[in-house]
Symmetry: C2
Subunit: 435 residues, 2 copies
């Protein structure tokens, strides 16, 4: 035991979840699980520690080392606390490629760590919902994944005024750039890189860079126009592009499912040039004070290539952080009173009644399926009432010696303040009715 | 991207949870949550990373460093991946001592890491249920905690033939040793240390050590006799001991709750000399091939003393590892078919029906609350059936062009192999009835 007192603060960028906080998390992860399981998504999980090379292989050694908590174990294995789930799930899919039945609809809600400066919406420890469909190369999987994201938002009571799904397609993006800029594959790649930086550089730098690749003012204007086009106008530019067809089918299907009010085509959605290969999307918070992408994802290829030679399994998915989601729910006032309408009973105690009588009463209520506790603290009645109120109990049961003799109990509804006196036999009936 | 293929194996001592594994975990953690919440226990959680000194303060620097995964962050803070939950919960309770409403009934199911040689029942990454009551100094809290452990075992269908709760009391232990050995506090402490090692040394060494502390053969015999005594016989030796009184009240209450058939007094239960201060217990697996303590716990003091000067909050609780619990459930054949009796529908597809028709059908079934997926893989019908069977679907829905024209669908029950042809309007009705 050390003489110096220890700090009660959690480590920087991490959080303690007291019961009230935990209740909120369990509520929102529960909603998410429910929405996904309805669409036959299955939950998985993997270890917190993985080989560092798993992240180095995906993101490069430097980024992997810098962004993760990593260290050597005693056998000199280089380990990292997972900063994301994709490498783990890729490893898992690769490990049972021949046993799994594709397409897979998988999700996970792992805790993970990133070594970064803490700020609003970014902590060092967070939980991230990962939703993916593996092994389906067509737009149907893209649709399912986007629909699952909308269903989750709707499950929280969010409507189209609160969020928007902005959708683009990387195949379409490449084709339309090639069509407008009239470039070959390598030329299109260079143009794409400039466009990807559009919002990060001044307009004159952007134009100068495109011109240095041979684009005219007219071509630059045609690219500008894409940003305000709807999906029909945009895909009309290169209707034979596979990406354009995917986009059209996707938006038609969203329309059939009456979900198109949540979705918009947005040529500005790119999401990193090297990773995504088809549909890409981001879900935006529409609140003016918070108008930004909350989460996003898309289609990527070669999921298992790092593990199995010449194997190819495609994936489409997204990751949603718990902090971002919670901020959204708070901003839009979508978190209900999580204690309301729950029956939770505290059996109060007096000294002149044997403890075993209270125990049996408590046991009886629990057997009925009612959340019930027997007060086991200091015995002053006023304190017991305080305890019940602070602990979100909805009812207290009162049984003194005279009640016990008369075979009755009193029940007090802590919300209405109403007190009912009933025969002990009728106790279960009383709660069955209000349940 | 590296040329060398990466391993698909998880890191040593950790596990991948594929959907079937995850389903099992969710099932058993769900049962545990349900049993605990019924008794008004509340869930909490804390960060995976904590300051290493938190563990050093409890277990000593050497043990803490050796048994944990620990490292320095870039600000030279010494961190450890939590190897247990008690220091975290102590920190949390200390941090809100003046706001929390005691007694607390708290539980958590965190993942944690211990750096140790892997063997049956011991992995490096594991989940551990932690159940505690904080801030109640009397046997009522001990009772609640033991009852919660029995309720969890019962919730899994375990009966008294499968497990036994072995109970002792450290206050009683000290008092009865003092009474028999006729020693002072320091003398009793030394005798206790020898008794604690009883099963780890040969009998002659044990006797020699006791004799060197001044005990006679007769006194050693009286201590031996304690191991086969019931609670009444044992507590009769020193009836005025507070520990003896706690033991008696505890066993009486267990009897009132009809739980005494699961419990036995066992003088051999000690659980580490320096930590526990009152009731101690261990839950044993009764299976002959596996007869050992699965988990245990007890009462301890000075939970928050490391954080808050002169503060004292007592605790009583236990920790139960997921690996041990799973081994127990497997040994006693207590894991049911977790897919049975669940309705899960696969909507199969044919090329000559528009995709949107299938989508709408799927949507309709999901709206009814039925777990439903639309097949989005390769379209051969035989493959779709295989997919449904491997994926634990209970029913498939079949709608070809002719069925669509006639406004009907076929439903095949994959268990009974029965096929039903019904009007599309009656689809919801059909599933409502079997649900």
């Amino acid at each position: 035991m050390c003489a110096q007192l220890l700090s009660t603060q959690p480590y920087k960028g991490t959080r303690d979840f007291y019961p009230d906080d935990m209740r909120l998390r369990n509520w929102f992860f529960g909603k998410i699980r429910e929405a996904l399981e309805l669409a036959a998504f299955e939950e998985y999980n993997g270890p917190m520690l993985e080989s560092l090379e798993l992240y180095a292989a995906k993101s490069g050694e430097e980024i992997a080392t810098k962004q993760t908590y990593n260290f050597l174990d005693r056998a000199e294995r280089s380990l990292a606390i997972r900063p994301e789930m994709t490498p783990t799930v890729a490893r898992m899919v690769a490990g049972k490629m021949n046993e799994l039945s594709f397409p897979l609809r998988w999700f996970s809600i792992p805790n993970m760590y990133r070594y970064e400066a803490t700020q609003r919406g970014r902590l060092r420890e967070f939980w991230q919902l990962n939703v993916d469909v593996f092994g389906c190369d067509t737009y149907e999987a893209d649709l399912e994944v986007i629909v699952s994201a909308i269903r989750i938002m709707k499950a929280f009571g969010a409507d189209e005024s609160m969020f928007t799904v902005r959708i683009n397609n990387r195949r379409f993006f490449n084709d339309v750039i090639a069509a407008i800029a009239n470039t070959d594959t390598e030329g299109s790649r260079l143009v794409s890189k400039v466009i990807d930086r559009k919002n990060k550089v001044p307009r004159d730098v952007y134009e100068r860079d495109l011109k240095s690749l041979g684009l005219s003012d007219e071509q630059i204007g045609r690219i500008d126009a894409l940003y305000s086009m709807n999906v029909t106008e945009a895909t009309d530019i290169c209707p034979d592009s596979i990406g354009a067809q995917e986009l059209r089918k996707l938006f038609e299907a969203l329309d059939e499912l009456e979900l198109s009010k949540y979705c918009i085509f947005d040529f500005g959605i790119i999401r990193g040039l090297d990773y995504y290969t088809g549909t890409v999307f981001e879900v935006f918070d529409n609140a003016p004070e918070n108008n930004r992408a909350m989460f996003g994802g898309g289609r990527y290829d070669n999921l298992v290539g790092l593990f199995v030679k010449n194997a190819k399994i495609s994936g489409v998915g997204y990751g949603m952080g718990d902090v971002t989601l919670e901020n959204f729910l708070v901003t839009h006032n979508l978190i209900p009173d999580l204690y309301k309408s729950e029956t939770k009973v505290l059996v109060t105690r007096f000294d002149d009644v044997p403890y075993t009588e209270y125990m049996k009463l408590t046991d009886k209520l629990q057997a009925l399926g009612l959340t019930t506790a027997l007060y086991i603290g200091s015995k002053k009645f006023g304190k017991q009432i305080d305890y019940a109120i602070k602990g979100h109990y909805s009812h207290i049961v009162i049984m003194g010696a005279s009640e016990l003799d008369a075979g009755i109990v009193k029940i007090k509804d802590l919300e209405t303040r109403e007190e009912t006196e009933i025969s002990s036999d009728k106790l279960c009936e009383y709660f069955s009715e209000i349940k």
